[in-house]
């Protein structure tokens, strides 16, 4: 008897079910656990209090990223520079003690491989297709870009995974987002995912796992896929994924933790079967015309508040839902924007290129291509580039990108989460505006009172040069 056609998500889920209870809840095995300094100390502490150990330290990888300053970490004499903020230092100390004590592989703050967990995982070959990947961070969804089922968890779940290597979960509903056609010139995976969130809304994917399908994703680089899947959570979906293919296999082959030799061949043979079957049903399907998407920017305080750069700040009255009208009114007051003003022309004082969404080598290349031979406008007070990892930083330096950035007036920083969430000293001042390649434009996200406009790396570079949000297609070339 032919088995029922299954989606990619269902195949990965089924392969990880340890036990299924009558009520549908499953004990799901976790293949990969990424741990960072901010959401893990309370989990390790709870294990200590209960006298419990870490079940599979070999499937766990720890690296600090959220809280680290992005200024120099090593003094000219080679010694490690202390972290000024006492609480941040204590959090880093906790991870440095907890991970090795449990036998967990630890990439320390000054290691060349250090970086944002969601950049490091795929880069090291720790994240693999068809695996279940969790981390105490909602942007774990990023790893879906290599065909993994990856999602963020809370600290109690971090504790649960450390102790049992499993989670108690119910299967999600499935949602297909199909993008056909071709993205126009100057339109990037970031513009695409911002547009998608605008279409489905910030709660549109709640309860679902998204599979991104169609020609646009089949042609997309791994970096682009990681960007798209990363922001699935901004559309409410805990996970988003793309079927793995040769583009992914080529990216992963030879990475430090990737399988080798006969094991690599066996893995690839298995991964080739990880596709949604013909005739498999999704609970919800959305189709988008890739060619109709323009460079996209956010204007409000929710990632669903987006518009093409050629558009205008909307009027609250243009929204049908009364609670959305109210929210937009509050958003525009916070953002200091008037309904009807053109988006192209909104002056910015800060530019942030970085975050787990857009800090990989392709992102830096795209921004550098716009900045080459140009300089940031006088009105741009602060512009920083924070590479996603030490390896991205080295690669960019080998390509001379760092000099393009510094000559354009950008600061070239050490890897970490930085101004995406402003836990470390990198903050946007109150009332100032930032063109940011990060993922959230929430109230206070980049610092109290900070006003965030989410953009692609190329659009961030264009904004730096112009001193205001602008269409990169009018600058580049």
């Amino acid at each position: 008897m032919a088995s029922k056609p299954r989606t990619l998500y269902e195949k990965i889920w089924d392969a990880h079910v340890v036990e299924r209870r009558e009520d549908g809840t499953c004990l799901l095995y976790i293949d990969r656990h990424l741990v960072h300094e901010v959401t893990s100390p309370q989990a390790f502490e709870a294990l200590r209090i209960a006298g419990r150990g870490v079940r599979r330290p070999d499937l766990t990888l720890a690296v600090p990223d959220h809280n680290l300053p992005t200024t120099a970490r090593i003094a000219p004499d080679g010694s490690r520079l202390p972290i000024a903020d006492e609480q941040s230092a204590a959090q880093l100390d906790a991870l440095e003690a907890n991970a090795p004590a449990a036998g967990i592989r630890y990439i320390d703050a000054v290691a060349p491989e250090q970086g944002i967990v969601h950049v490091v995982g795929p880069e090291q070959g720790f994240s693999l297709p068809g695996t279940t990947i969790v981390c105490g961070d909602s942007h774990t969804a990023a790893h879906g870009g290599i065909g993994a089922l990856a999602f963020g968890i809370g600290t109690s779940e971090v504790e649960h995974v450390l102790a049992t290597q499993t989670l108690q979960l119910r299967p999600a509903k499935t949602m297909e987002i199909r993008v056909e056609g071709e993205l126009g010139s100057g339109v990037t995976p970031k513009d695409l995912i911002l547009h998608i969130i605008g279409v489905i809304g910030t709660g549109g994917g709640t309860g679902h796992v998204i599979e991104y399908r169609g020609a646009v994703f089949e042609r997309m680089s791994v970096e682009g896929r990681l960007t798209v899947c990363n922001m699935s959570i901004e559309g409410g979906a805990r996970a988003g994924l793309i079927a793995p293919d040769d583009i992914v296999f080529d990216y992963l082959e030879g990475r430090p933790m990737s399988p080798q030799g006969a094991e690599w061949d066996a893995a690839v043979a298995y991964w080739r079967g990880l596709r949604t079957d013909e005739g498999a049903a999704f609970d919800r399907s959305v189709t988008i015309d890739g060619a109709a998407i323009a460079p996209t920017v956010s204007w409000g305080t929710s990632p669903e508040d987006v518009a093409p750069i050629s558009g205008h700040v909307p009027s609250p009255d243009s929204f049908a839902d009364p609670s959305k009208r109210d929210a937009v009114r509050k958003s525009l007051a916070y953002m200091g924007l008037e309904p009807g003003s053109p988006l192209d022309g909104i002056a910015i004082e800060n530019v942030f290129i970085g975050s787990c969404t857009n800090s990989r080598i392709e992102d830096l290349r795209a921004a550098a291509a716009v900045l080459k031979g140009r300089r940031k406008a006088d009105g741009v007070r602060w512009a920083i580039v924070v590479p996603g990892s030490g390896l991205v930083k080295r690669q960019a330096e080998a390509e001379g990108l760092d000099r393009i950035f510094t000559q354009a007036g950008f600061e070239w920083r050490e890897p970490g989460c930085s101004a995406c969430l402003a836990m470390n000293p990198d903050k946007v001042p109150p009332g100032e505006r930032c063109a940011s390649t990060s993922n959230r434009n929430f109230v206070g996200r980049q610092g109290p009172g900070a006003r965030t406009h989410l953009v692609s790396p190329a659009m961030a570079a264009a904004a730096a040069v112009a001193g205001h949000l602008t269409d990169v297609r009018n600058i580049a070339g």
Partner: protein, 196 residues
């Protein structure tokens, strides 16, 4: 986890939709290595505005919060649940919750009660002047005015909350099943163990 049965008292009628976890607890509060003391940072940006509902004296010790759609979206930070517990909240009523927040709330014994928008609107009105009661066993929300709304909750979560079960302990009791799974997978997919 403390046992949960009924939660009764005043409810803060916040009502906003898309309350994200950065709003519930801003990132600068996350530099802690404990779960305690986060209540003073809870809803910081909302509480900074004079006349906000958290400042109203009647709601000072309110155990319930009423919010709009998609409550708890954004970051996975469990600090959001810890901060709410620390300020005395034991339940949130909203039309919908983000998946990660509803899990974090459950793990900390906070009831995330999803009700249709019209019922939430009714409770927002009642909350201005009167208390609200949530009965987990009966799965109801009631008011002094004969309102009686029923809500859905996962049967496993309900049992954990009512009995105050330790989920990690429950799963550790399945150790044999987990070990069997690991042995089977190690044979089928030996490449799953990362190289050292």
């Amino acid at each position: 986890m403390d046992k949960v049965s009924t939660i009764e008292g005043r409810a803060i009628p916040l009502g906003l939709k898309n309350i994200d976890t950065d709003v519930i607890i801003p990132a600068h509060w996350l530099k802690t290595i404990t779960r305690e003391g986060l209540g003073k940072g809870a809803f910081e940006t909302i509480r900074a505005v004079p006349g906000n509902p958290f400042d109203v004296e009647d709601f000072a010790a309110a155990p319930i919060l009423i919010a709009g759609d998609n409550f708890g979206c954004g970051s996975s930070r469990e600090h959001a649940a810890w901060a709410m517990l620390d300020m005395g909240l034991r339940a949130v009523i909203a039309p919908s919750f983000s998946d990660i927040f509803s899990g974090n709330a459950f793990k900390n014994g906070i009831l995330a009660v999803a009700l249709p928008q019209d019922q939430v609107d009714r409770l927002l009105a009642v909350a201005q002047t009167d208390p609200i009661a949530i009965d987990l066993e009966a799965q109801t929300v009631t008011t002094p005015f004969q309102d009686r709304f029923t809500f859905e909750i996962d049967a496993f979560r309900k049992r954990c909350l009512i009995e105050g079960l330790d989920e990690v302990g429950l799963t550790l009791a399945r150790d044999t099943a987990i070990s069997d799974f690991e042995t089977r997978v190690a044979g089928q997919k030996p490449w799953l163990v990362p190289r050292t």
